[in-house]
């Protein structure tokens, strides 16, 4: 098939950037979307033009590196699918496509389709963990976890941190991402001791990074390639509110002996 591709080209974070049109012939339906871009890039290099920069690594839909907007939809037309797993059989001959990077204040563009998502790491660093220093763990089976809770936790934990939820949200909110971690850990017995402080700190960090508020629009859930659900946001809000009432700063612990 033949495609017309309008792709966002931006040399650096300070460059203004613009859409540039390309045409590509002989696209096979068995190619993945990124393989199609590989072919385009090989042609560009041969012509002496700089290839299009896009993030990718696993190409299996699990590392969360890849992601851009195709015709207005984060990760493109196929539900539950990252762009690396999207295949050209989802498109037709003579389609015209528009490829743009994630747009959000907290995700500044670095080059072409690549954005800086390190704000997500800082949200995790603010509390998205269970403090369990190496060596301090009891036997694995000493902690029983009911299967239903464990399954729900696993579903929330499946988030790959790609950022599509933010890109799709009119408020550029990181609520789905943040809540997935809060729900994953908060559903497990191991996660209870830090449950409320976790929610407080992660939500605060998301605000500090410049992500917007959640107003329950639901676009995030619609584009999430991993099917992370809105109910996580409800869990987050509950933990946050309880936390706001219960949380106390830690006390000093020094003592003579």
């Amino acid at each position: 098939m033949r495609l017309t591709l309008n792709i966002w080209r931006q040399k650096s974070p300070v460059d203004k950037g613009r859409m540039v049109p390309y045409t590509l012939d002989n696209v096979s339906e068995h190619m993945s979307f990124l393989e199609m871009l590989d072919v385009l890039n090989e042609q560009l290099i041969t012509k002496g033009e700089e290839p299009i920069a896009f993030d990718h690594d696993c190409r299996e839909g699990i590392c969360g590196s890849c992601g851009f907007v195709i015709n207005g939809v984060a990760h493109g037309p196929r539900r539950g699918t990252t762009v690396c797993q999207l295949h050209m059989r989802s498109f037709n001959d003579n389609d015209e496509l528009f490829l743009e990077p994630w747009r959000a204040a907290a995700f500044p563009v670095l080059k072409d389709l690549i954005v800086n998502r390190s704000s997500f790491d800082r949200i995790i660093g603010a509390g998205g963990y269970i403090s369990a220093p190496t060596g301090s763990a009891p036997d694995g089976n000493a902690i029983l976890v009911p299967k239903p809770e464990s399954d729900m936790a696993m579903s929330a934990a499946g988030c790959i941190g790609c950022g599509a939820c933010v890109a799709a949200c009119p408020n550029a909110s990181a609520a789905l991402f943040t809540s997935a971690k809060i729900a994953h850990l908060g559903l497990l017995p191991q996660g209870q001791p830090e449950r409320h402080s976790r929610a407080l700190h992660m939500v605060a960090q998301a605000h500090e990074e410049g992500f917007g508020n959640c107003t329950n629009i639901g676009e995030c859930e619609a584009v999430c390639p991993k099917g992370i659900q809105l109910e996580n946001i409800a869990r987050m809000n509950r933990d946050f509110l309880t936390g706001a009432v219960l949380y106390r700063d830690p006390q000093a612990e020094a003592g003579a002996g």
Binding site: E35, H87, P133, G140, P146, Q190
Partner: protein, 635 residues
């Protein structure tokens, strides 16, 4: 070669070593600067744990976040000798299976330690909130995996690597937030700094700004993963590379068993020449799927039209006691033989069926969906076919490298102060890795081995204070800078990928599933020529001071070209077949691998002697005091 393997009864060796090792005073730990290159299971767990202990850590990865290391892609599970299923597992059995599975080319002491530590890893991961699969009573669930006759594999749906990595990543982010780890994402190590014979730092390139920096430290830890991408097509992530290990090799670290490569039997076959990577279908599928090809050669009928009696379930036929669960190397070679006989399936003839028809009938579609739903979806997304209706088509693909930087029992390379963890080192798996053992090894190295052995090194080796101004550091930086400039100035006619594909094809054809001395040496010579052409004729566009993905790739491919040659030389030098290394000249009458324990019961450790001199082979003799070498039999 001094492997520093401790003496005494095997079950006491690690305990005794730990006791004899020197400790660093808690208050002094923060005075030590440690570099951890890599943030996968091995690097992430090491960086977090060392920071918890109080060391001053810098951690590096080339992805935009440590959470995206290639470990994230592991699907099937992680082994541990918990014996929760009461089915006869034990530390000794896991040890035994691993030594045997590795075809008697691993160090017994290391493997025993790995089996011992395996149980702690599960505890640690559970405490971190890794959502392992559970039974209805709330206890941990297990499955049996790739060649094991006990159920010792722990798993989190088909996303075990993801969940274990996120556990380590979250521990790491906690330390980053606390200021005890400084994280450098999108940063690539391009050289090792060796001063007075000791590893004292690295040179890095910031992949966004192009800035080249020196980082000085008291010890350097490489946890940079495997080099399967030397074959261009593999199941590894696109960015996986050998650069860190290769630069260390060129600075004096010996490279161990470079030719030991694992070819995984269950991957989705290649569909066209634009193909950029291969997708693994988890081995757990072999628990319920049956592998077959048509009995007749060149049978192009649809699988549904081929009657039961016309199908050859060849693994069940040849290996009745293990059937579809034979180890990976055995399954891969059998598939290759079927295709060589002209009985392969699919448009290219390079494929075999993995059929769930019988399992669906026996267990119901619901159970199969619960077990493999996500994998079936992934297969359908890629191929457009539903495994519920038509058998999957699979073919072997490069998956894992058992070879890597040679390390001793302390995980230290031949350069003092340079430690190598995870897939990047050569240890523990011998000539073939068992399924679900890489995650175990990466986490054992990072959580439970390096925290001890690093402390011992620091406490026993007083180090001189040095700064970035040291001439050796400056010289390494200049070399890196020059290499970057050189790559950008060649302006030839071929893209980086075209070189990489050509290298990959040479490797797959001659250093892949079946090898012979003549082809290997031919390939080595061709790769050398290709390398020479690369430095004359590659075309890398863009600038040095910029985010430049072609430049990143070019540097990695340049190192793969050198590694590929060494792999062929190593494979030609090992005149035996063992594990994943199958030499056509050395096979039993039934076509099974034929080891030569008398001459080759050693780990090959290659020393770099300069670009124009052949590498020098050193041998680490392997001793088997507990598991007596025997011909592996899965019949």
């Amino acid at each position: 070669m001094n492997s520093r393997t401790p003496p005494g009864p095997i079950e006491k060796r690690w305990e005794n070593t730990k006791f004899e090792m020197k400790l660093v005073n808690p208050a002094n730990k923060r005075k030590y600067n440690i570099l951890v290159v890599g943030s996968g299971l091995a690097g992430g767990s090491a960086a977090a744990t060392l920071a918890e202990l109080g060391y001053n850590v810098k951690c590096f990865c080339f992805q935009d976040s440590p959470r995206r290391a290639h470990s994230i892609a592991a699907q099937g599970g992680i082994n541990a000798a918990k014996n929760y299923q009461n089915d006869g597992d034990s530390i000794y059995r896991l040890f035994y299976d691993t030594v045997k599975g590795g075809d008697f080319r691993a160090r017994e002491s290391n493997v025993y330690r790995l089996a011992q530590i395996s149980v702690n890893i599960i505890d640690q991961a559970v405490a971190q909130g890794v959502p392992f699969a559970r039974e209805y009573g709330g206890t941990l669930a297990n499955r049996s995996f790739g060649g094991a006759q006990v159920s010792r594999t722990f798993y989190a749906r088909g996303q075990t690597g993801q969940q274990l990595l996120l556990g380590a990543y979250q521990a790491l982010e906690r330390q980053i937030d606390a200021g005890r780890v400084k994280m450098y994402p999108r940063t690539e190590m391009l050289d090792l700094i060796v001063i007075d014979g000791k590893a004292r730092g690295i040179v890095t390139r910031n992949l966004v700004t192009g800035q080249i920096d020196i980082h000085i430290a008291d010890a350097v830890i490489l946890a940079t993963g495997g080099y399967g991408n030397v074959f261009y097509l593999s199941t590894n992530a696109k960015g996986s590379n050998v650069t860190a290990g290769w630069r260390a090799y060129k600075r004096g670290a010996f490279f161990g068993n470079p030719c030991f490569t694992q070819i995984h039997p269950t991957c989705i076959p290649v569909s066209g020449d634009y193909q950029s990577k291969l997708t693994l279908m988890s081995e757990s599928l072999r628990n319920d799927g049956r592998i077959w090809v048509p009995k007749k050669q060149g049978d192009t009928r649809k699988p549904q039209q081929i009657a039961e009696t016309e199908r050859d379930y060849y693994l069940e036929r040849i290996y009745p006691s293990f059937g579809n669960l034979v180890p990976r190397d055995v399954a891969s070679r059998a598939a290759k033989r079927m295709c060589d006989e002209g009985r392969g399936v699919g448009p290219t003839g390079l494929g075999v069926y993995l059929d769930f028809g019988a399992a669906i009938e026996r267990l119901g579609k619901q159970s199969i969906t619960e077990r493999y739903g996500n994998l079936f979806e992934m297969y359908e997304r890629i191929t457009g076919e539903s495994p519920y209706e038509v058998p999957m088509r699979i073919f072997p693909a490069v998956h894992y490298t058992m070879g890597g930087v040679w390390v001793d029992y302390h995980l230290m390379s031949t350069v003092p102060g340079l430690f190598v963890l995870g897939e990047a080192n050569f240890s523990d798996h011998g000539a073939n890795r068992l399924g679900a053992s890489a995650l175990m090894q990466g986490l054992a190295d990072g959580y439970f081995v390096i925290p001890y052995t690093l402390g011992n090194y620091l406490a026993s080796n007083p180090l001189e204070k040095i700064t970035e101004a040291h001439p050796a550091a400056q010289a390494a930086k200049v070399e890196v800078d020059n290499r970057v400039k050189k790559l950008l100035s060649i302006n030839g006619n071929r893209t980086v990928d075209s070189f990489h594909r050509e290298l990959g094809k040479l490797m797959w054809d001659h250093c892949g599933m079946a090898r012979n001395a003549k082809d290997l040496l031919d390939a080595a010579a061709k790769i050398r020529d290709l390398n020479a052409e690369f430095w004359q004729n590659v075309n890398v566009l863009g600038d040095a001071e910029d985010l430049n993905q072609s430049l990143e790739k070019a540097g990695r491919v340049a190192d793969f070209l050198e590694l590929g040659e060494l792999m062929c030389i190593d494979a030609a030098d090992r005149n035996e077949s063992c594990g994943g290394h199958f030499r056509e000249e050395h096979q039993t009458p039934e076509g099974e691998a034929l080891r030569d324990d008398q001459h080759y019961a050693y780990a090959a450790a290659w020393e770099y002697k300069g670009d124009d001199h052949p590498a020098k082979l050193h041998k680490e003799q392997l001793y088997f005091e507990y598991v007596k070498p025997s011909q592996r039999s899965y019949k």
